[in-house]
């Protein structure tokens, strides 16, 4: 994997260097020039319209609603078709996918963008699937599951037994709804992002930021006395050292969800970039010989991404459960190990 990534890095930096001088000279002469960096960034970014594919000169695009609020002119709602190809509508225009006002006023953009639309689709899909699963339990009770229910039951049991019970302990039941929601939401969104024409929802840092912020809030609100005692009066630390230990512990509180946010964002975005880079090779070299290699590697990464989709959902859920578990547990083994003394014996028993 490391070697593969290194090879890829070489390839990517090569193309970046190769395309740079071309861009300056070709800007005025031809628009046919293929810019892989721009294409990839466009693919992983958010946009106000949903571009599916282009056949020759025909673009197949779904125009999504633009909802913008400006302090002066109030709310404006219209189709993003009005803004296509740099047009100005109601004093608004798109600059690199950012909605800006022509008079320089601040724009609050509440548009249903591609990512927001995908978020809604993912939520609707979750609702449809899990309402049907829940109906199965209501109808059949503890009898053998059927249909969709029998596919999701092992996953739900896995999250309950292997993630929640082992990480949180006896109080796990309260957190099951959140853990299951976050697991299936991330998994479904990752898979939706892998569909042709799909949006890169979990590769958007705002989405992962929101998920991580919810995890942080749940951890903080379910924390007990032990958790805070550990932060503001770390056991086994002499009093004069506390002025340095308190910031260190507080950094730890923020960093845990921050690392959740970055991991999910980076993994999904990296997967998309790698797949697209392999496909781009065909257009960079303009050579039919390169196509089989490029497609084989692209396909390999794509299947790897199918695995990463569920793995990242699992890791996010597991680490969330561990952070919650750290906040609700009654005693800390670590206390004994750092403090030593009479507490060292029970720590050995674990």
């Amino acid at each position: 994997m490391k070697r593969l990534l290194f090879a890829l890095f070489c390839l990517l930096s090569l193309t970046a260097r190769a395309s740079e001088p071309v861009a300056t000279t070709a800007d005025a002469t031809e628009s046919e020039n293929f810019n892989p960096g721009e294409m990839i960034l466009h693919h992983i970014g958010d946009s106000h319209e949903w571009h599916w594919f282009t056949l020759g000169e025909t673009h197949v695009t779904t125009y999504l609603p633009v909802i913008a609020y400006r302090a002066g002119s109030g709310l404006s709602v219209f189709s993003s078709h009005e803004l296509a190809e740099g047009k100005v509508h109601e004093g608004l225009k798109l600059e690199h996918e950012h909605l800006v006002s022509t008079d320089g006023a601040k724009v609050y953009d509440f548009s249903i963008t591609k990512n927001v639309a995908t978020l809604m689709i993912a939520s609707a899909l979750l609702l449809i699937v899990f309402i049907s699963v829940a109906r199965g339990y209501a109808k059949r009770g503890t009898a053998a599951p059927r249909g969709m229910q029998s596919f999701f039951e092992p996953l739900i049991i896995f999250i309950r037994d292997e993630v929640a019970k082992k990480s949180i302990g006896p109080k796990y039941e309260r957190y099951m709804p959140y853990l299951l929601t976050v697991f299936f939401f991330i998994w479904f969104s990752n898979l939706l992002g892998l569909l042709p024409g799909g949006a890169n929802l979990t590769g958007n840092i705002a989405v992962t930021l929101t998920l991580a912020a919810i995890t942080l809030l749940i951890t903080l609100f379910s924390s007990n006395k032990n958790y805070w005692a550990h932060i503001f009066a770390t056991p086994g630390v002499p009093k004069p050292l506390l002025f340095i230990m308190i910031p260190v512990e507080l950094i730890g509180v923020v960093v845990k969800p921050f690392s959740l946010m970055v991991r999910l964002f980076a993994n999904i975005t990296a997967g998309h970039i790698v797949t697209l880079s392999f496909i781009s090779l065909i257009f960079i070299f303009r050579n039919i010989g390169i196509a089989p290699i490029s497609i084989a590697f692209g396909l390999f990464i794509f299947f790897l991404e199918l695995l990463v989709a569920i793995l990242q959902a699992y890791i996010f859920t597991l680490l969330t459960a561990m952070y919650i578990g750290g906040a609700v547990e009654d005693h800390h083994d670590a206390d004994y190990q750092i403090g030593g003394g009479d507490g060292a014996a029970p720590a050995q028993a674990h």
Partner: protein, 83 residues
């Protein structure tokens, strides 16, 4: 494969397999946290220096060292905690 009783250290045992996955996730989380701690505190120091326009980047230096210490402390604590 045929024997119904699996030895405890058999990787085919589903309990062990999920525990191993769990360990992988846990340690990868610790590594990620270490990187994030140093990165986040350095960034905070850098932006504080920019905001106060200091001649010597004391905030960057101080917060970076604090972040380094915090990262090491958290790693040591997390790995010595065990399960």
């Amino acid at each position: 494969m045929a024997s119904p009783v699996k030895p405890p250290d058999n990787p085919d045992n589903p309990d062990n397999r999920s525990d191993r996955l769990r360990t992988v996730a846990r340690y990868s989380g610790i590594g990620m946290q270490m990187a994030a701690t140093i990165g986040l505190s350095t960034w905070a120091g850098y932006s504080l220096d920019k905001h106060y326009q200091t001649n010597t980047p004391w905030f960057t230096l101080g917060l970076m060292l604090l972040g380094l210490f915090a990262a090491l402390y958290n790693v040591i604590r997390a790995v010595s905690k065990g399960e």
